[in-house]
């Protein structure tokens, strides 16, 4: 996305611009050296081929400290740049369309580099922008009355830690008439989730006796067309530039579960600062929707009104001494009592060893632990000059380990918790974990480079030289260790280089197009298993492996 000074902080709204005379005045302000190159082309709607007026086209130099220039297309979708000789990326941006790089009509391809020579005139470049689609409709309750101000999310399947799950792609709120419209969607298959957990549901109750209590009702989250589990939901297929209309999502009012509870501190501890409980719905997409409450000085909390269902309750003290506990609960409508016991975490100490030439300075290293569970915060500790480090309070759970900086061309050689290999296996910390975490980082990572053979493309100057995407995937025993995967794009001559490779057995693949992270899907990797070039890398190896572009397996990256 082209930069405007405040673009990253302000929610800059990308739209077309302004008075033509103003634009002319602004572009004229730039002085260029003699022997500039000229680049011109058009921006069109990929679905219809129609030219796009007032699309923003940006040219950016490829090196460090990038320089950038922008123009808007005219009413024929045309743009022209005058630029000094050099290497550039070119990209186009228009409201309602996907941001697109030259040479990469879809984001599963690498952006092409445009090399311009002094005095060169390059004409006829075309940037095709994919139009977004939309889904619109209404959310209704059990009486078919519209529900205002609920969130509707478009959800897509994804893979996290090797498991199939879902993530929210985009969303919208319903208006006063219960209507919603989710836009900026790329073609694909979506599930809709309506979530109005903080909206009090009104259910018809015309006759009331004095002293009769009214249950508190809320809407349970629902997936289109009106089911509570995403597995039972109906998917909506969206084509480019099309608005799928009249989608009706049904939600049902349910009586809340009213939770009172107590946090139980470890024996002998009388107070813990900053105690808070959070409820994470465990059966729902978008688990970042946490409901929290502070815990009183007497250790009690509540009432908290929640939609009945399964939750993980997380109690945590953020004071000087950290405590944490989790409790899985199944909440029924009505009042309910829960107790969450918290405890201190364990101290994890360890040692970092740097091996090989120019491996760096131990005192500048830091080790981080990243929780697999979203309700905890990452931890970072500095390494001492002797390589030792200590995490004073690590709560039970699965943690990923990070070391930074890794020396140039280096790799993590080993990570051991006691005698468990936590480089290739998950590190699960329990309440009794006491083993040391020993990490070895070597500067002598393997290097694999080579050339991808490509057919000559006579149109490459106008469509962008293809840059095949290279994937080096671990084979055999460690085939599912995500940190061993290496991914890059070849340059326009087909040359690639991968550095800092962990020694082991690998397979090398080259594709015209490959989505970033596609290898996180074990099914995709299974389908690739019979293809690819086997490569064995030893510590410090410099291997040359030439290959050719191969087709994606049937079913593509999905």
């Amino acid at each position: 996305m082209p930069m405007v000074s405040f673009n990253s902080v302000v929610h800059a709204v990308w739209r077309r611009a302004a008075l033509l005379r103003l634009l002319a005045a602004m572009s004229a302000a730039v002085l260029l050296p003699a022997q500039t190159a000229s680049v011109s082309g058009t921006v069109v709607n990929d679905a219809t081929g129609a030219p796009l007026h007032m699309a923003l086209v940006t040219m950016t130099t490829t090196g460090p400290k990038p320089m950038e220039a922008s123009v808007y297309t005219d009413s024929h979708g045309a743009f022209t740049f005058q630029a000094p000789p050099g290497s550039y990326y070119l990209a186009a941006d228009e409201n309602g369309y996907e941001h697109t790089f030259f040479g990469a009509p879809t984001p599963d391809r690498a952006a092409a580099v445009m090399r311009l020579h002094a005095g060169e005139t390059r004409q006829g470049i075309q940037l095709r922008l994919r139009p977004f689609a939309a889904i619109s409709g209404v959310v209704v309750d059990q009486d078919n009355d519209p529900i205002p101000y609920v969130h509707v999310s478009a959800v897509v399947p994804t893979i996290e830690r090797g498991k199939h799950t879902y993530q929210v792609r985009n969303g919208a709120g319903t208006n006063a008439r219960g209507e919603f419209r989710i836009h900026q969607l790329l073609p694909g298959r979506y599930y809709l989730m309506a979530n109005g957990e903080r909206i009090q549901a009104t259910t018809v109750r015309p006759v009331v006796a004095v002293n009769e209590s009214a249950p508190q009702m809320v809407y349970a989250p629902a997936y289109y067309p009106g089911v509570t589990r995403i597995e039972d939901a109906t998917a909506i297929d969206v084509r480019a530039a099309v608005e799928v209309r009249d989608i009706v999502v049904h939600m049902e009012a349910r009586q809340t579960a009213t939770v009172h509870g107590r946090v139980q501190l470890p024996e002998g501890v009388t107070a813990a600062g900053g105690l808070m409980v959070q409820f994470q719905p465990t059966g729902l997409v978008s688990p970042e929707n946490l409901i929290g409450q502070g815990v009183g000085a007497d250790g009690t909390f509540g009432p908290i009104n929640l939609i009945p269902g399964s939750y993980r309750v997380n109690a945590q003290a953020s004071g000087e001494i950290g405590y944490r506990g989790v409790q899985d609960v199944e909440l029924q409508p009505g009042p309910q009592e829960i107790t969450v016991a918290v405890s201190r975490g364990v101290a994890i100490s360890g040692r970092l060893v740097l091996e090989g030439p120019n491996a760096g300075d131990l005192a500048r290293e830091q080790v981080s632990l990243f929780p697999a569970e979203k309700m905890m915060a990452p931890l970072t500790e500095a390494v001492k000059a002797d390589g030792s480090f200590q995490f004073p309070n690590v709560f039970p759970g699965v943690w990923d380990i990070g070391v930074s900086p890794i020396p140039k061309g280096g790799f993590v050689k080993s990570m051991m918790l006691g005698d468990q290999d936590v480089l290739t296996e998950e590190m699960a910390i329990g309440p009794d974990t006491s083993q040391a975490l020993n990490i070895v980082v070597s500067s002598r990572g393997g290097v694999v480079s080579g050339t991808v053979e490509q057919p000559e493309d006579p149109l490459a100057d106008l469509t962008g030289h293809e840059r095949p995407r290279i994937l080096l995937a671990p084979a055999g025993k460690f085939a599912d260790v995500l940190s061993f995967f290496e991914f890059t794009a070849a340059d326009e001559n087909g040359h690639y280089e991968l550095t800092g490779i962990t020694p082991g057995e690998y397979k090398l693949y080259a594709f015209e197009q490959l989505e970033l992270g596609a290898w996180r899907d074990p099914d995709f990797m299974k389908r690739l298993a019979s293809a690819g070039k086997p490569v064995t890398v030893h510590e410090g190896d410099h291997l040359t492996v030439d290959t050719e572009v191969m087709p994606l397996p049937p079913g593509g990256a999905r």
Binding site: V9, H11, A18, M26, S27, E68, P206, V207, V210, S213
Partner: protein, 560 residues
């Protein structure tokens, strides 16, 4: 893009506030078999515009305190019923989120007082609700393309010299540039658009992120094409109707941003400063300015040229505040300086003009209520010491209203420095220091108010509003009831000058606040001078009743 951001800001802390709200809303667990009453009340909720029944209206019943009655929710025929009632007088009131509560209170048609005897079954209680309206339209730029993610606000102006926005409603334009502001009470509104953020402007090669990179800003505007309220075209919203086609053609101009240097004699954490710039004289939301960590200065987001007020606030220790008005745009300086200063502490004393105890129901408190268009800081508020002295913190330059809480006494007079001030509204100017001297009075002068036009069996309310209150902005109210038949109210007021009115409505305050209603009733009041001279005679005054029908006609006239 905007919407997406709204979705992802779901944070734990934000939600806990919501949770607090639910927390206070505890279900009352008492069983129905405690109820031994045998009377009942039933009725219907009707849409005042269409005369159709209102479905899912909430009907609240209140009466003898020992009873907890949860609200009824009407069915598709608008029907509600309350059973097992004790004999007595019950108050029934209907509400619905798509209907105008305030209008129902003013007109008195959304509630009824119903008296039942044992075993009596009262049916046919009709409660009427006036539907709210809406405002819709689209925003397009100069090339006919939709302007998405812009805010559109509707402001109704309050009475009083300050022309404060009374209430505001807002919506965002969608990716097609369309917006709808829903659930707006009937009335007259000024509508404005405000598109946040900046657009890329074409430019030659510059380092990425260079502050010289030009950008474009959309020009915020009121409907009618004006930068402020002056000359803006107002939009009339009728009950239950949508004011359509309130369209904006959004102009784009070369944007300028301003570098803002904060000057302070006290050290503060630059990360805890909030800096905003807001167009002068336009009741709209401000635009943020951001800290540049390299220079330690703030930079406003690029905005259209014009006059802006820059406000800077430090909320943590120490509390600092500063503001200045600048021109932004071509030819104007690119840097502004804002002096941060700790808000003033104003010392003062409360003095009672009788021997009576002023304190009632808790320690005496003094508070200043801001009369500024926009006020986002902590309010000056403090507890009064036993000797009557107090120190008000957080006082900044501006217009304020004085309030004393936890007392039955009223403010009789006040001085700030050597200047006499009206407690209803006074200015604190730069350099002013106080002290604030407040005289409270518990004296009450009896005024016999004869009301003409009260029918037998009905009630009316007599109110006295201070004479020095700005038009339609009473800061104090004294009232008494008149029962039909007697037609004389004994109104007791502190010494002072008042205007006295008699109204059939139970919501005189809301009537005064509504510009159209105030205009209709203003000259119906009678001046009353309540003097506390020894031997002053009781004041007699006659006012004629302002009926509900009159108020309704005035409301209808305002919508023509």
């Amino acid at each position: 893009m905007k919407r997406l951001l709204v979705l992802v800001t779901f944070g734990v802390l934000k939600l806990s506030a919501q949770q607090m709200e639910l927390r206070s809303n505890v279900t009352i667990q008492r069983s129905a078999d405690e109820a031994t009453g045998t009377a009942s009340i039933e009725g219907t909720v009707i849409n005042d515009v269409t005369n159709a029944p209102v479905k899912k209206a909430q009907v609240h019943l209140s009466g003898p305190l020992r009873h907890m009655v949860s609200p009824a929710v009407t069915d598709a025929t608008g029907h509600f019923a309350f059973t097992h009632l004790d004999a007595g007088s019950w108050f029934v009131q209907a509400s619905h989120s798509n209907f105008d509560m305030n209008r129902g209170l003013i007109l008195g048609d959304n509630h009824k007082q119903v008296t039942v005897t044992a075993d009596q079954h009262v049916s046919g209680v009709e409660l009427r609700l006036t539907p709210m309206g809406s405002i819709s339209g689209s925003l397009i730029d100069e090339f006919g393309d939709p302007a998405a993610g812009c805010q559109v606000g509707a402001v109704s102006m309050a009475n009083g010299a300050n022309r404060r926005p009374r209430q505001q409603w807002a919506a965002n334009s969608d990716d097609r540039g369309e917006y709808q502001i829903a659930d707006v009470p009937a009335g007259r509104y000024f509508v404005f658009e405000r598109c946040p953020g900046a657009l890329a402007a074409p430019h030659g090669f510059l380092p990425r992120g260079d502050p010289r990179t030009p950008s474009l800003a959309f020009v915020p505007e009121f409907y009618g094409g004006t930068p402020g309220l002056t000359g803006a075209t107002s939009v009339l919203v009728h009950p239950g109707a949508e004011a359509r086609g309130i369209d904006f053609r959004v102009k784009t101009v070369a944007a300028s941003s301003m570098e803002i240097r904060l000057a302070s004699t006290q050290p503060y954490d630059p990360k805890s400063v909030q800096v905003t710039i807001r167009p002068v004289d336009a009741p709209m939301w401000g635009f943020p300015a951001f800290l540049d960590f390299k220079t330690g200065m703030f930079r406003s987001q690029p905005v259209a040229p014009g006059s802006y007020t820059i406000t800077a606030d430090v909320f943590n220790n120490p509390r600092l505040h500063g503001e200045t008005t600048v021109n932004i745009g071509k030819g104007a300086p690119a840097t502004a300086e804002v002096d941060l200063a700790a808000p003033m502490s104003v010392a003062g004393t409360l003095h009672m003009d009788t021997e009576e105890q002023a304190e009632r129901g808790g320690p005496l408190q003094v508070m200043l209520q801001p009369l500024a268009d926009w006020y986002g800081s902590e309010l000056p508020q403090t507890t009064v010491n036993k000797d009557g002295s107090f120190t008000l913190p957080n006082v900044v330059v501006g217009r304020w209203r004085l309030q004393v809480m936890n007392t039955q006494a009223s403010v009789r007079s006040a001085t700030f420095g050597d200047r006499e001030i009206s407690p209803g509204g006074f200015d604190i100017v730069p350099g002013a220091a106080g002290p604030l001297y407040v005289v409270l009075t518990s004296k009450r002068m009896q005024t016999a108010v004869r009301v003409t036009g009260v029918e037998n069996g009905t009630q009316a309310q007599v109110v006295a509003w201070p004479k020095d209150a700005e038009a339609g902005d009473p800061y104090q109210q004294f009232s008494a009831m008149v029962e039909g038949g007697s037609s004389v109210a004994n109104l007791s007021v502190p010494p002072g000058s008042y205007r006295v009115y008699a109204l059939e409505s139970t919501q005189p305050w809301a009537i005064a606040q509504d510009p159209a209603l105030w205009a209709a009733i203003a000259d119906r009041g009678k001046l009353v001078e309540a003097k506390d001279d020894a031997g002053a005679a009781e004041v007699n005054v006659t006012v004629d009743l302002i009926t509900r029908d009159e108020v309704k006609r005035a409301l209808d006239r305002a919508l023509q």
